[in-house]
């Protein structure tokens, strides 16, 4: 069978699986719709969280990002995993003990303030929408690249699938579908990784082959070979860093803390039955994420070596077939500037002009073909990319619909709404959110890609300190928390908007505050948040006794109330 036919088969089978799972696990109450009735075992929840967390960007772009950044790629590798330690130790167990549905619930109750709740709701909706638009776009791209379907049609198909199981199944349907999606995506990621590792180093485990010797009989270490090749062609050595240490430090911290503050990740820990399950489920989530995140840098190094080896200084007429194929999609561009008919791929330190432009997504997308794998593996990679995009989109849509139906309608606008009415409202909100997300997927505003990256910085500078202090410092009061959030988010957003939108020409290390790029500024915003909220809180009255009791209560594991339905 052709690649095209295999892709249709793989994608079709995986979609049928998701729909089957969704019908089997549809929700019948608001408790099931919002948090799956708080009855999800921790391994299952961990797997679902991993699928929720790993987006189209993790699946398609991350290995490529690392391949082109070398050691500096660690900011993403560590930044998007280290946050789970903060979640498991500092947030998840206490929020589970608190036992309501959402982050705005916690912020509103702990800081006894409607303003704080509404600000939190707006932040959650804003972050989720920018994120989900990117996922819908990812669905469209996978469809168009693998199946030659128009991007618009691809997005519409993706919308249809997500609509079906998010609106019908709520959190319960989403959780079990995400488990299926995790299995599809990790299988699709590891099969080519195993093959390429075996091919290049003779060791099937990529994490070990990464540090092994090449299988070509030279006895040379893969990474030494890669460093040598890179420098020969005028690139920096692969294992050296280029970014300033302070910038790497701040970006990593902003991503870690931001991860721990993202509403669609936090809400997952409300779905488990007990406090102890919230802790272990964070552990399982990171375990399942780590399988992909430790394979990605290995894949990056293999693919980079392959690329430099096979493409550079090759006659254009003799390039491998995958090169020509991906050239038609525009992901590889060759411009024979010196007219000698061969490809000069050169870095910034070389005297020769570079003639090749490569899109980072090619590292994962073309990997099966570069490693000469059978056609069904290519189809599998397409299904994996779709699984990653759909699972993340569904999780985000649920946060949006919960925020609207629960946080805004039930808690603020129509408090007397019945359970049934609330469930209908949640479903309508999810449906409308799918349509809006689809619209932005088809007509992406230019700023989506940029905003997604900065959502982390904004979450780090606003939510994270408020929640942490809410749990660990009883004296923190509403005025302190609100002023901290406002100053933190204003500073961070201002810095980002200035360098990205007002004066992008100044966006370079010499103009940055302390040498910190806009990607890393959220960390400084978080520090400022703490520096403002603590003195302000000390200068104003202590929180009322019942709030202090609430804090005492969430710190202790007992009397946790196993079922959410009872407490609604």
């Amino acid at each position: 069978m052709s690649v095209q036919a295999w892709t249709f088969v793989m994608v079709g089978l995986s979609f049928a699986l998701y729909i089957g799972v969704a019908i089997w696990s549809r929700a019948s109450s608001t408790g099931e719709f919002y948090i799956a009735g708080a009855g999800v075992p921790s391994v299952v929840n961990g797997m679902a969280t991993a699928a929720d967390w790993m987006s189209a960007a993790s699946f398609i772009s991350m290995a490529g990002l690392v391949a082109f950044m070398g050691r500096d790629g660690s900011v993403y590798l560590m930044g998007w995993t280290g946050g789970y330690v903060l979640l498991a130790l500092l947030l998840a167990p206490y929020l589970r003990k608190f036992g309501k549905y959402t982050v705005p619930d916690f912020v509103g109750d702990r800081y006894y303030s409607r303003t704080a709740r509404i600000v939190a709701v707006i932040c959650a909706i804003f972050v989720s929408f920018t994120y989900v638009a990117g996922q819908m776009r990812g669905v469209g791209i996978v469809f168009s690249r693998f199946l030659n379907v128009d991007i618009t049609l691809g997005v519409l198909i993706g919308m249809g699938i997500v609509f079906f199981y998010a609106v019908l199944g709520g959190m319960k349907g989403i959780t079990y579908t995400q488990v299926a999606q995790y299995c599809v995506l990790i299988f699709a990621y590891l099969v080519p990784a195993f093959f390429i590792s075996l091919l290049m180093t003779g060791n099937i485990i990529p994490q070990i082959g990464f540090g092994g010797v090449l299988a070509d009989g030279s006895g040379e270490f893969l990474l030494d070979k890669l460093n040598g090749l890179s420098q020969e062609l005028g690139f920096d050595a692969y294992t050296d860093g280029r970014k300033a240490t302070i910038d790497v430090f701040f970006i990593t911290a902003a991503l870690m803390v931001g991860t721990a503050g993202l509403p669609h990740v936090i809400v997952r820990f409300y779905t488990v039955p007990r406090v102890s399950a919230a802790r272990s489920s964070a552990g399982w989530a990171l375990f399942f994420i780590a399988i992909l995140y430790t394979s990605a840098p290995a894949v990056a190094a293999f693919a980079r070596t392959n690329l430099l080896n096979t493409v550079s200084d090759t006659k254009y007429t003799e390039v491998p077939s995958w090169f020509k194929k991906w050239e038609t999609t525009g992901l590889i561009k060759f411009d024979d500037k010196n007219g000698d008919g061969s490809i000069q791929y050169r870095g910034q330190h070389s005297d020769t002009e570079n003639e090749l432009t490569i899109d980072r997504d090619i590292i994962v997308l073309a990997n099966p073909e570069i490693a000469k794998l059978p056609n069904w593996v290519v189809g599998l990679v397409a299904a994996g990319g779709l699984a990653a995009a759909l699972s993340t989109a569904a999780g985000l849509l649920l946060v949006i619909s919960t925020s609207i139906a629960h946080d805004l309608l039930k808690r603020e606008l129509v408090q007397e709404i019945s359970e049934k009415g609330e469930l209908i409202a949640a479903r309508i909100a999810a449906g409308v959110a799918v349509c809006i997300a689809g619209y932005f997927g088809i007509n992406p505003p230019g700023f989506v890609g940029q905003v997604v990256a900065f959502a982390f910085g904004l979450a780090a500078a606003s939510f994270f300190p408020a929640i942490i202090m809410g749990i660990f410092w009883k004296r923190m009061n509403n005025i302190g928390a609100i002023s901290g959030m406002i100053v933190g988010i204003t500073f961070t957003a201002g810095y980002i908007i200035f360098f990205k939108f007002i004066r992008p020409d100044l966006n370079m290390p010499t103009h940055w505050l302390l040498g910190i790029s806009p990607e890393g500024i959220g960390t400084l915003g978080m520090v400022i948040n703490f520096l403002v909220s603590i003195p302000v809180s000390l200068a104003t009255p202590a929180p009322p006794a019942e709030v202090q009791e609430l804090v005492d209560n969430i710190r202790i594991p007992q009397d946790e109330g196993p079922s959410h339905e009872l407490s609604v």
Binding site: V66, R71, G73, S74, L77, M78, T81, G82, Y84, V85, A88, L89, L90, P93, Q207, F210, G211, G212, V213, F221, L222, L223, D224, T239, G241, T245, V248, F249, T252, A253, M256, S276, R279, S280, A282, G283, L286, F287, A290, Y293, T294, P297, D552, R555, I556, P557, Q558
Partner: protein
Amino acid sequence: MIKKNKNRAYWKKNLQYLFTLLAVWFVVSYGCAILFVNYLDKIKIGGFRLGFWFAQQGSIYVFVVLIFIYVYLMNRLDKRYSEATKEEDE
């Protein structure tokens, strides 16, 4: 009143675990993989420079292990706590 002391002891123990584990978390990710990365890169294990390995592999393994250590410690603490409070109720 005694229960209150138990609660306080539980919380203190929890904070102790937190500080220890987060210190390891910080040293591995921000220390080994960022601040002292060039220093550690002078050491080579197999094909890996040590700093590079921490930055792209080792730190992630340590994160996973840290969470499961915390899970283990807290489950043990929870058990002791519930036994202690049960005795008191009797």
